[in-house]
């Protein structure tokens, strides 16, 4: 299945080879990325600020190293953009919120240190829904992002800027964060590959916290191989994140993918998730017809690749959206307590301390962030905690068990649409938070269960808008997901 985007760039792994072979330089690629952002991003608003000095310094070091003939680290010299909720030392982190006006990060996020250790030039900080809360990137204090496939449509959210900057062809890869689908849904809407890794395999240190038990830094790329490459660069244990898995694999995914290229899937069993099947059961009618027929075609393609297809059921998926909107908002209401105008950000001074907190927060946060802080505070408040928060934690535990049992019963991966619809027009869902929340139904379960999931391009609808196919696997099964996704990418 070819991608629907018009990204004219070679893939990140191809660019990396060209640098190593002396056919291009990191500086040329970095200057081209910075120039493209300057000239063309006015139309999409995908980048909030470039990080030009850092990018050129990194590129220069790569080129000096390349001249000596030394083997360069994976993806060295390949420009990348990062979502503006990921800290880069010395540069502003805005989270697309007015409340962080004037803040510059004293330190690098661990993922940024890892990109720099591999000499990847970071060219800019990308736009997002304020504090990563949203599914359309219309909640940014710095204006909405537009979908490069068709600028009348949203790119998805919350990592809409990171998606758009790759879809527009400015860079071959970017980092976003995925708390309830914030990378996979925009990947789907922009025709890209988006990988949400197993919770605990990528450090959250320096990623501004939204829902700490759900957040995971996640890459956007144009190919499955690139997703594996970027994941390989950013994964790995970190003493600064206590939720990291000590058993994070050190697998060379690129070597595995190379060995698997051209092989069929005759030893693979793929489960079709009944709860998100638009032709049967409770989702009947909820999946757009073009998305459903793309799904049907995908199943036929997997059969022709030799995979065994069976229907699987995760009944608790029906409760994913309510459980998520309790747990994520509860965690957010606590995490966002730190924005009080005392230690950083824009303070709105009143006579005494409490009114200063209130004035700072009320003027600094946007409407969706306030709505979620209110909901989360309510869910954690005396008298409602057990009925809401406690119940949602139980639903989460049940869902995780259902996934683990299903995978343990001989299913290698589960497939479903990434998003029930293709991109919608700007402004279309702004007035109905419930409709916006329900658009996350297919992506939320992987965050609640902590399992890896990726969205890959799956053709386009009648309007030429990209459709995404989601693959979900058991904890630490990235190898299997990459293999199945690559086989699908290379089919047809």
């Amino acid at each position: 299945m070819s991608t629907a985007t018009a990204n004219p760039l070679l893939s990140a792994t191809q660019l990396s080879e060209k640098i190593q072979q002396g056919e291009t330089t990191a500086t040329q690629l970095t200057q081209a990325a910075l120039a493209a952002i300057k000239e063309k991003d006015g139309e999409y608003n995908s980048v909030l600020a470039t990080t030009e000095d850092l990018a050129l310094k990194t590129a220069d070091a790569v080129d000096a190293k390349a001249k000596t003939g030394d083997t360069l680290p994976l993806l060295a010299g390949v420009p990348i953009a990062v979502k503006d909720n990921i800290n880069v030392a010395g540069y502003a982190t805005t989270c697309a919120s007015k409340i962080l006006e004037g803040f510059a990060s004293p330190y690098n996020a661990t993922v940024v240190d890892k990109l720099l250790a591999n000499h990847m030039p970071i060219v800019g900080k990308t736009n997002l829904d304020e504090f990563a809360m949203g599914s359309s990137n219309e909640n940014s204090a710095y204006g909405p992002v537009k979908n490069p496939v068709n600028p009348e449509y949203v790119p998805g959210g919350s990592s809409g800027g990171s998606a758009a900057t790759v879809a527009a062809g400015f860079v071959a890869a970017s980092l976003g964060s995925d708390t309830g689908g914030s990378v996979r849904q925009p990947a789907s809407l922009c025709g890209l590959v988006g990988l949400k890794p197993t919770y605990g395999t990528v450090s959250r240190y320096g990623l501004v916290a939204f829902g700490s038990s759900l957040d995971q830094v996640s890459p956007f790329t144009t190919t499955v191989k690139d997703a594996a490459a970027v994941y390989q660069v950013i994964r790995g244990v970190d003493a600064n994140d206590a939720t990291m898995r000590p058993d994070t694999p050190t697998t060379d995914y690129l070597a595995e993918l190379a060995a698997m290229a051209g092989k069929d899937l005759s030893d693979v069993t793929i489960g079709v998730l009944q709860e998100l099947d638009g032709e049967h059961g409770q989702s009947k009618g909820a999946i757009a017809p073009d998305v459903q027929s793309a799904m049907t075609r995908a199943i036929e393609t997997f059969k022709s690749l030799g995979a065994t297809i069976k229907t699987v059921s995760i009944p608790s998926v029906a409760y994913a959206v309510p459980a998520y909107y309790i747990l994520a908002t509860a965690e957010a209401s606590s995490n966002l307590g730190r924005y009080d105008g005392i230690r950083y950000g824009a303070r709105k001074q009143a006579d005494t301390l409490h009114p200063t907190y209130k004035k700072t927060r009320s003027e600094g946060f946007g409407a969706e962030v306030k709505r979620r802080i209110m909901l989360g505070t309510f869910c954690l408040s005396a008298g409602y905690y057990d009925a809401f928060y406690g119940k949602a934690q139980q639903a989460r535990r049940l869902m995780t068990k259902e996934f683990v049992d299903t995978f343990g019963g001989g299913v290698d991966a589960i497939i479903c649409p990434t998003s029930p619809t293709t991109a919608f027009k700007l402004g279309e869902k702004c007035d109905d938070p419930v409709a916006m929340y329900l658009s996350d139904i297919a992506t939320i379960p992987a965050n609640l269960a902590g399992i890896p999931a990726m969205s890959i391009p799956n053709g386009t609808d009648a309007n030429g808008l990209p459709i995404g196919l989601q693959l979900l696997g058991t904890h630490l099964s990235e190898s299997t997901l990459f293999r199945i996704a690559q086989a699908y990418e290379q089919a047809d």
Binding site: Y319, C379, K391, R396, T474
Partner: protein
């Protein structure tokens, strides 16, 4: 459940938010819809389940423990950069408005 103006005021105070009359009016209509959505959870039978999500979330066995590192004291090397972000600072400390009314 009934969403009253008193409830909205109470939650806003806990969240240290000051709502405009427009925001309050919007919450009074939106909150019942959102709470109806989350109330679907009541249909789920969870009587057999503990509330803790931790171990199942990670997929690790139930007796797994969180990894910890030694709790060593060290001086944070970027204190000056941190203080440079303060809206108001005095002698290396964050300055705040007075805490008590007179």
């Amino acid at each position: 459940m009934q969403v009253t103006e008193e409830l909205i005021d109470h939650v806003a105070n806990l969240a240290r938010l000051e709502l405009t009359p427009e925001e309050k009016a919007a919450y009074l209509t939106e909150f019942p819809n959102i709470l109806n959505l989350v109330a679907q959870l009541n249909d789920l039978d969870t009587s057999e389940l503990p509330a803790s999500p931790v171990n199942w979330t990670s997929g690790l066995p139930d007796d797994a423990t969180s990894p910890t590192r030694p709790d060593n004291t060290e001086t944070y090397p970027k204190l000056a950069e941190c203080m440079a972000n303060a809206p108001e600072a005095e002698d290396g400390y964050f300055a705040v408005p007075k805490i008590l009314d007179n």
